[in-house]
């Protein structure tokens, strides 16, 4: 038994029906999501499956549990997990496989749990599928595993529902569910993608610990090379449904053979690298454009049963300056108030208190009408390229909008100018009449940048401009922003949760937490010798690409606890 392979996947092919009405799936064609993937996993080993969106990595993970059965997908090749054929197993065998032999940890921990039932009951439900135990014993087992994954006061918390937990705690609950029936294999599909970097580190550490303790195998699916570095023994790199490279983690990440793997690695921004020459080497101390003093923004909350509880300050006394030609990076985890701050800087939001000066003029309290003449100088690039372009208008029209509003009415001049702008951001000038859905995420983000450039602004606030993009696209968009800044002398405010990306682009960096800047300074200074404990925590939690380094950091983290 011991030398039997835990997972044995041979020539796996998965095809999804496309373009067919649901009523007649056989009419449409098929899209090959996974194309001849082969890998094995010995008991107790960990494999990372890495790839960008659309690479088919999650489809492989789902195939391990036979989740393509009955969905209309066609599968080929063979998938054996702990001796069970996942593609054909039926009835009791299939049920034993799902949860009993192999258990899945899903990505989004909020939607992956039933909102109506207490988490303890949900875990107990799974236990009772696999073991003939009483309701009470199943419940006891649930409390036991919840306790194991680090939920404090597990017996009481097991009666809470999913929405009463934080994101990280919910992910722990999902892991507890996976553990409930002592499976021999854990399949984790992007288990940390929705989480902040510090929480991500905790969850990865927990998975590592549990594996050491239970001897279970692990298949970890992720888009983030940093996540696999410290967590798995072997790595499988996927692209367009095929396995590009497969080998021990140190080899694949340390000395990749395939060009694609190399490109992927090169695109990953490094938090420990000295600043890449994206911005000007020695930023000129240009004209002071924007100066914020003790900015504050409150939101009325409708929490609880009261009509109006005390307003909550999303931004709580932030002071900053932005000069022409420089980039100010703002890093913060979710809920830190960074988006609110960004929107205040371009006056999409009005500050509750504090002063905001643009080129010496107080713009903090200007009304919409007075702002209009200023609008063109302060622009913004948004996070989600899907919602930042009107789906019903051509991209040309969207880019032309600021020109038309500014009073330009000569159609030919507008066309020429929009064409220039599209080419400037690396798109084709002839794409004026295309709609947003015809473009990829990265291209849409370029359109968004072209639109921001159209009124010839002096300052652009970029709110998480690359967080929705794949790592290679991400690198291209970051490069584009740097290039534009150099050529046009723009001032940038670059807001992101990703410390590495921010380091890559910024001259100065501010670290934001709970509406305040905890640390602000020169990028290299902040990253290389952080002063505030929170900044130190953040930096320590960033996953390292080098497996040895990653292990060292894990030990450091565990020692610090």
């Amino acid at each position: 038994m011991s030398d039997e392979l835990l997972v044995d996947v041979r020539d796996l092919v998965v095809e999804f029906p496309v373009g067919a009405p649901a009523a007649a799936p056989s009419d449409g064609g098929h899209l090959r999501a996974v194309d001849g993937v082969t890998f094995t996993l010995a008991a107790g080993q960990a494999l990372g499956i890495v790839g960008e969106s659309g690479s088919g990595k999650s489809t492989v993970a789902a195939a391990l549990l036979g989740l393509h059965q009955g969905t209309g997908a066609r599968t080929g090749g063979s998938v054996r997990v702990a001796g069970v054929d996942a593609a054909t197993a039926q009835g009791a065998d299939l049920r034993r496989l799902r949860g009993g032999l192999a258990a899945m940890v899903f990505q989004d921990p909020l939607s992956a749990l039933d909102p109506y039932y207490a988490v303890g009951d949900q875990i107990a439900e799974v236990v009772r599928v696999h073991r003939t135990v009483s309701r009470r014993d199943a419940r006891a087992r649930a409390v036991q595993v919840l306790d194991r994954v680090g939920i404090a006061d597990a017996a009481r918390r097991s009666r809470s529902r999913p929405h009463e937990f934080s994101g990280g705690m919910r992910q722990r609950v999902l892991i507890a569910m996976a553990l409930a029936c002592e499976p021999r294999l854990l399949v984790a599909d992007e288990p940390t993608t929705a989480l902040d970097v510090t929480v991500q580190a905790q969850i990865l550490d927990l998975l590592h610990e549990l594996r050491a303790e239970t001897g279970a195998g692990l298949v970890l699916v992720t888009h983030d090379l940093g996540v696999v570095a410290g967590s798995v023994d072997r790595v499988l790199v996927m692209k367009d449904g095929r396995a590009v490279e497969h080998g021990p983690v140190a080899e694949v990440l340390g000395a990749p053979r395939e060009p694609y793997t190399r490109a992927l690695l090169a695109a990953v921004p490094r938090v420990d690298a000295p600043q890449a020459p994206v911005g000007p080497a020695d930023p000129p101390r240009g004209e002071l454009l924007l100066e914020a003093t003790e900015l504050r923004r409150e939101f009325a909350t409708r929490g609880g049963l009261t009509r109006r509880s005390a307003p909550v300050a999303a931004v709580d006394g932030v002071s900053l300056t932005v000069r022409a030609g420089e980039t100010l990076g703002i890093v913060g985890e979710s809920g830190s108030g960074k988006t609110t701050l960004g929107r205040m800087l371009v006056r999409l939001l009005e500050p509750t208190a504090g002063r905001l000066h643009y080129r010496g003029r107080d713009i903090g309290a200007l009304g919409e009408r007075e702002l209009r003449s200023l609008r063109r100088e302060l622009q913004m690039v948004f996070q989600d390229p899907a919602s930042s372009l009107n789906p019903r208008r051509t991209i040309g029209e969207s880019v032309a909008d600021p020109l038309r509003v500014a009073g330009e009415s000569d159609e030919r001049r507008i066309r020429t100018r929009v064409g220039e702008l599209l080419e400037r951001v690396g798109l084709n000038a002839d794409w004026y009449h295309r709609y947003p859905h015809e473009f990829s995420g990265g291209q849409r983000q370029r359109v968004g940048i072209a639109r921001a450039l159209a009124p010839e602004p002096r300052l652009i606030v970029c709110d998480e401009p690359v967080s929705a993009l794949d790592v290679t696209t991400q690198a291209q968009v970051v490069d584009l922003l740097g290039e534009l800044q150099r050529d046009l002398g723009l001032a940038l405010v670059f807001i992101a949760h990703d410390l590495a990306v921010v380091r890559q682009v910024s001259d100065r960096v501010a670290v934001m937490r709970a509406g305040r800047f905890v640390e602000q300074g020169d990028a290299d200074t902040v990253y290389d010798s952080p002063q505030h404990p929170y900044t130190k925590d953040l930096l320590a939690a960033v996953p390292a690409l080098d497996p040895t380094e990653a292990t060292a950091r894990r030990h450091a983290r565990l020692a610090a606890v």
């Binding site: 549990l65 989740l67 299939l94 049920r95 034993r96 496989l97 799902r98 949860g99 009993g100 258990a103 899945m104 899903f106 989004d108 939607s111 992956a112 749990l113 039933d114 909102p115 109506y116 039932y117 949900q122 439900e125 799974v126 599928v129 696999h130 529902r161 929405h163 999902l174 569910m177 409708r302 929490g303 609880g304 049963l305 009261t306 009509r307």
Partner: protein
């Protein structure tokens, strides 16, 4: 919770107050002389004048409205033939025609409409949720398509059409059911039941089509959610997924909609009642309207409006109770 209820109660009073204003504006400012109407076609001008004085219609409109409000809050007195008639606190006025107090008239009819509404509700919930559950369980099969077609057709039948057809087939032709009538429950439960069976079904068949569609789509929606995938990936059976997880998700909208529909039904049972000749609120409305008995009409609008507003609040509460993620605010 208390604060929510308090706030809702204040809101409800506001809405009802606005309702009285609208009703007054619409009916008392409408062309036509209420005194003439109350007195009858053959009244002499002098008699009309007398009636006008007696009903207080000679006062300016705003004063009439103030008196009406006063009656609602504190009660008022009416001069009736021989002496004074005292109308206690929520006083809706006195019928122009019969001289009866409107609140008494409504109270007498309320049990009929209530019997109709609650009985129909039981049937539509059982039929509707059952059908919805069945079609969600059998999704993709022929029987599900048939059920879906049937419920879509069901939503398209006006109640007076299906009622009439059932009346002809079941009562007149086959004589399986007695012709509908109302006997108070307290008098003879059996007769009460048989007399109302046909009206219940006429109302409930259409409603149940609506509920079947709601249940089905809410369940299908839940079945498409991520947490269903989770439990499927843990070997939980399809049947269990539908009956435990999906049904639970469908419950909240069904319960809330039931509350709303019940509230609305008190005002909208008119068609059913007038088709089957049941002496409920709707029947009273139709007869008061044809007699142009304005105080009764105003009273009915207020009472039925109250039911709708109350149903809204109850629906909100039920939402919060069945889905604790909802914050009342």
């Amino acid at each position: 919770m208390t604060r929510f209820l308090l706030r809702k109660a204040v809101g409800m009073i506001g809405v009802l107050f606005a309702l009285t204003l609208v009703v007054y504006a619409a009916f008392y400012l409408a062309p036509g002389d209420p005194a003439q109407l109350a007195c009858g076609e053959k009244c002499s001008p002098a008699q009309v004048l007398q009636v006008r004085e007696r009903l207080g219609l000679d006062a300016p409109v705003h004063l009439q409205y103030a008196r009406f409000l006063q009656g609602l809050v504190a009660g008022r007195d009416f001069s009736a033939g021989t002496g004074l008639l005292h109308c206690p606190a929520p006083c809706l006025g006195v019928s122009y025609r019969s001289g009866e107090q409107v609140s008494d008239m409504i109270a007498a009819r309320l049990p009929v409409t209530a019997s109709l509404a609650f009985g129909a509700m039981v049937i539509w919930l059982v039929l509707g949720v059952g059908t919805g559950l069945l079609s969600a369980l059998r999704r993709g099969r022929l029987s599900e398509r048939l059920l879906t077609a049937l419920t879509l057709t069901g939503t398209a039948v006006p109640v007076f059409v299906i009622g009439l057809v059932l009346l002809i087939v079941l009562c007149a032709q086959l004589q399986w059911l007695p012709f509908p009538s109302y006997v108070p429950l307290t008098e003879d439960p059996q007769q009460w039941f048989w007399g109302l069976l046909l009206p219940w079904f006429s109302l409930a068949l259409i409603e149940s089509a609506k509920y079947a569609r709601l249940t089905r789509s809410a369940m299908l929606e839940t079945l498409a959610e991520d947490h269903i995938r989770t439990f499927r990936a843990y070997g939980v059976s399809e049947r269990h997924l539908v009956t435990r997880h999906a049904l639970r998700g469908a419950l909240t909208p069904v319960i809330a909609l039931t509350a709303m529909d019940l509230g609305t039904l008190f005002g909208s049972a008119v068609l059913t009642e007038s088709l089957f000749g049941l002496p409920g609120l709707g029947k009273l409305l139709v007869s008061s309207v044809s007699l142009i008995d304005l105080p009764t009409v105003v009273g009915l609008v207020l009472v039925t409006g109250f039911c709708v507003v109350l149903a809204n609040i109850v629906a909100d509460l039920l939402y919060a109770v069945t889905d604790r993620r909802v914050v009342l605010g």
